[in-house]
Subunit: 467 residues, 2 copies
């Protein structure tokens, strides 16, 4: 970056323009593997106007801009892979208004998802999407990646709650994508074009979300299975029985084992013969209805060779079980170098996906730990490096991952359910989409961002980008 | 249209290429006012390949193509305003498969919505969106306009059920927009870009929808109010009390009166002092829960000056009340020449919208009959010609409508909730969106359809189209 560019930014933002090496290193990574890319400068704007000025300048001077939230992403969406400006939205940390009359909240993107959830919960309202990182991730990042989480199975993903967005385009122009309404048949859906676009089309500066009344009751059960495939096979049968759980999480044996070691304050004992667990929650307003639901679920899983069900009896036990589930990712990460794939298929295809992943692992000689949101057919496949040599890891793994994704697509699924494509999955996009679809998407990118300044190097395979 | 074009189509489609005047007139209108535009030819393809060949030919020869479904639309989306080809999707009438394991249905676009609903209901499954025209409209048309209906308040609109679409682009290329999964963070959301695009970006030839388990119980109540504004004011309070009804319909006095005359087999008596009614449904699996919900609703509405609530006690009574609601549009239409506006605001703003509409009516001297989906803040404003002279109707009404829409947008809403913009609302698009947003949308149109052959003259104000 040229000296004059730095001077421009420094003059605009003073100490919110940072170039010291500690800051650059700190902002050079997210939670994706061990990847680090240094930006030339970290800018921390605090108003839409500042974002607009920065983008206008960078667009004119062809400076790459990578936006970031809390940098908890798992696909490298926030990595400044082309250097330039790292634009941190951390100062956009205000919940602007909670509208109890219309069940809506207007917020800035740099609010931590759980902080937002708690703020609306205080008014009896409910913002359901709850990615595992909800205690640290930003709502703006959730919108960029279209995050899910356990509750998606009943309540849907981030996209399903976004009504309207204020977005700064690469030109510096500011738009609102929609209106603050539950139904909208007015022109093209710019809102949903921005959601999940991973910061490649514009910078979100204000967000209007719809809310629900907050259910007052929930019940949680942990079901152990003697076979992981049978655990998966039980999942669609629960829905067919007419129950829509508010969470339906799958954990393979190793996922729980490793996490139990990692979280030392949990007093849950797992039997060695249990190969997998389903963590199932139901929620609502009426305890007798929920008990009924639990009974129906228990009847269904009994046909799939499960062992005795653990019902969480206290709030502490519920929190313990959820902590166990939420910490799986971290536990796997601390165990070994790994690579996480965010596969998603129609839920009935889960057993076939799981079986296929293990077979591919056997062929290529890697071990995987699988867990995730079984109710959505969303399986996180954690491929463990363990003692694989560097050559195999670097050269053969991508071939194996390609096979996993091809299987996913064959089963009617796709290559990311909730983590996004970002930097690490982009070379697999040709598996999910044909040339025409990819070219359409890339043309949309060029339309919004003709100079390719915004989060360059993401989503599209290099071959498309250089097209 | 040139003779050689007609010969090409005739050779391709034989008797599914029609040019007789009766057919042209028949396909020259939808349900929008009394508008008729004659196409040069009506083509009735029956395969994706045929649609592709037709589009490729028309794209090369710059022939306008207006797709149509069942022509029940209310914004003129299916009117062939530029002549050319009227492409009827009526032969795409097959439900391809109902996937009970994954709660999905794959269908062609020319299936009547209610036929689809009944087919999945036979398997205990539920496709909720239920526009008033569900007995005649096509699911493909619902996707083009992002249709809603009474159940949207609890279950969402058409967009919320669309997982994946096969679409023929104007170039003749065929794409799939997504995958058959509940969560998708893989590239830009082409699916939601097509939904609600009113046939201007591509022709939908296959549709994958998600389904729900079908609730087994419902209760229906009709609540009379002495004031229409108070009826509207009661609406948000019901949600705030923690109840999400499966329908929450508002009908002004005249709407019911006119419909009662129109539907002669209903034995419902409406008191002269009742100014408006709310028709409220709750659904679920447990009757005691629903009775509880009804009690809470009754407690809430009691504070808004309502009269005695009618609970539907038999299935016949329920059907009668729903028939009453569904026939309102038709009844108004048979009463007088009218113009329908599909306003939508955050639901708490409904009383202000209603009051404003009446005030604008007083200023310009027109009467309006209002009804609609109060739970979504979606109010259908039917402006009645009555004995207004032609000049007032033609020249002053657009000014009044502009005021109504400006009010809608001031209240946080927009100019169409579920009918689309189509032909009749396009000159109001500048109220809902600024120049930059409109230009972005128009650039997306150009990207998909560089020769502007597909449903030309729709959505965009003439000034944008000619930009």
């Amino acid at each position: 970056m040229k000296q004059e560019d730095l001077i421009f930014f420094k003059n605009k933002l003073n100490d919110r323009c940072k170039t010291d090496i500690d800051t650059l290193e700190n902002y050079g990574h997210d939670e994706t593997e061990n990847l680090v890319f240094l930006p030339s400068v970290v800018l921390i704007p605090e108003s839409t106007e500042e974002v607009s000025e920065i983008l206008r300048y960078c667009n004119t001077h062809l400076i790459p801009v990578t936006p970031c939230g809390a940098r908890t992403g798992l696909s490298g969406g926030a990595l400044p892979v082309k250097g330039g400006v790292l634009l941190s939205m951390e100062r956009f940390s205000k919940i602007i208004s909670i509208d109890e009359n219309n069940l809506q909240v207007t917020t800035e993107p740099g609010v931590i998802t759980e902080v937002l959830q708690n703020a609306v919960a205080e008014k009896g309202l409910f913002y359901p999407p709850d990615p595992a990182s909800k205690g640290s991730c930003f709502i703006g990042g959730n919108i960029s990646e279209n995050s899910g989480g356990p509750k998606a199975v009943k309540y849907g993903v981030t996209a399903d709650y976004v009504l309207n967005l204020e977005v700064v385009l690469p030109s510096g122009e500011v738009i609102w994508t929609g209106a603050n309404v539950l139904k909208n048949a007015t022109g093209y859906n710019l809102t949903q074009l921005i959601v999940g676009s991973e910061g490649t089309l514009g910078i979100v500066t204000k967000i209007v979300l719809r809310l629900l009344p907050k259910p007052t009751k929930d019940l949680l059960m942990l079901v152990p299975f003697f076979s992981a495939e049978k655990a998966c096979a039980a999942v669609p049968e629960i829905f067919k029985a007419g129950v829509i759980p508010s969470a339906m999480e799958f954990m393979e044996r190793d996922a729980i084992d490793w996490t139990l070691k990692f979280v030392d304050d949990l007093s849950i004992s797992i039997q060695p013969e249990h190969q997998a667990h389903l963590l199932i929650e139901v929620d609502g307003w009426d305890e007798s209805v929920l008990l009924n639901d639990c009974e129906r679920i228990a009847e269904v899983v009994a046909d799939f060779d499960c062992d005795e069900i653990l019902f969480a009896e206290t709030q502490a036990q519920k929190e313990g079980l959820w902590k166990l589930r939420r910490k799986v990712g971290e536990a796997v990460k601390s165990h070994s170098v790994y690579k996480e794939e965010d596969t998603v298929v129609p839920r009935y295809e889960l057993p076939r996906l799981l079986k296929g992943v293990k077979e591919i692992g056997n062929t290529y000689g890697f071990k995987s730990v699988c867990y995730g949101h079984a109710g959505d057919g969303n399986l996180h496949v954690n491929i463990i490096k363990g003692d694989l040599d560097e050559r195999t890891w670097k050269e053969e793994l991508p071939v194996a991952i390609r096979e996993i994704f091809e299987l996913t697509v064959q089963l009617g699924g796709t290559i990311s359910g909730e983590h996004g494509i970002g930097w690490v999955q982009k070379e697999y996009m040709d598996i999910a989409f044909g040339k025409t679809e990819l070219q359409l998407m890339h043309s949309i990118k060029q339309l919004f961002d003709p100079n390719t300044i915004l989060n360059p190097g993401k989503i599209f395979p290099d071959s498309t980008e250089n097209h």
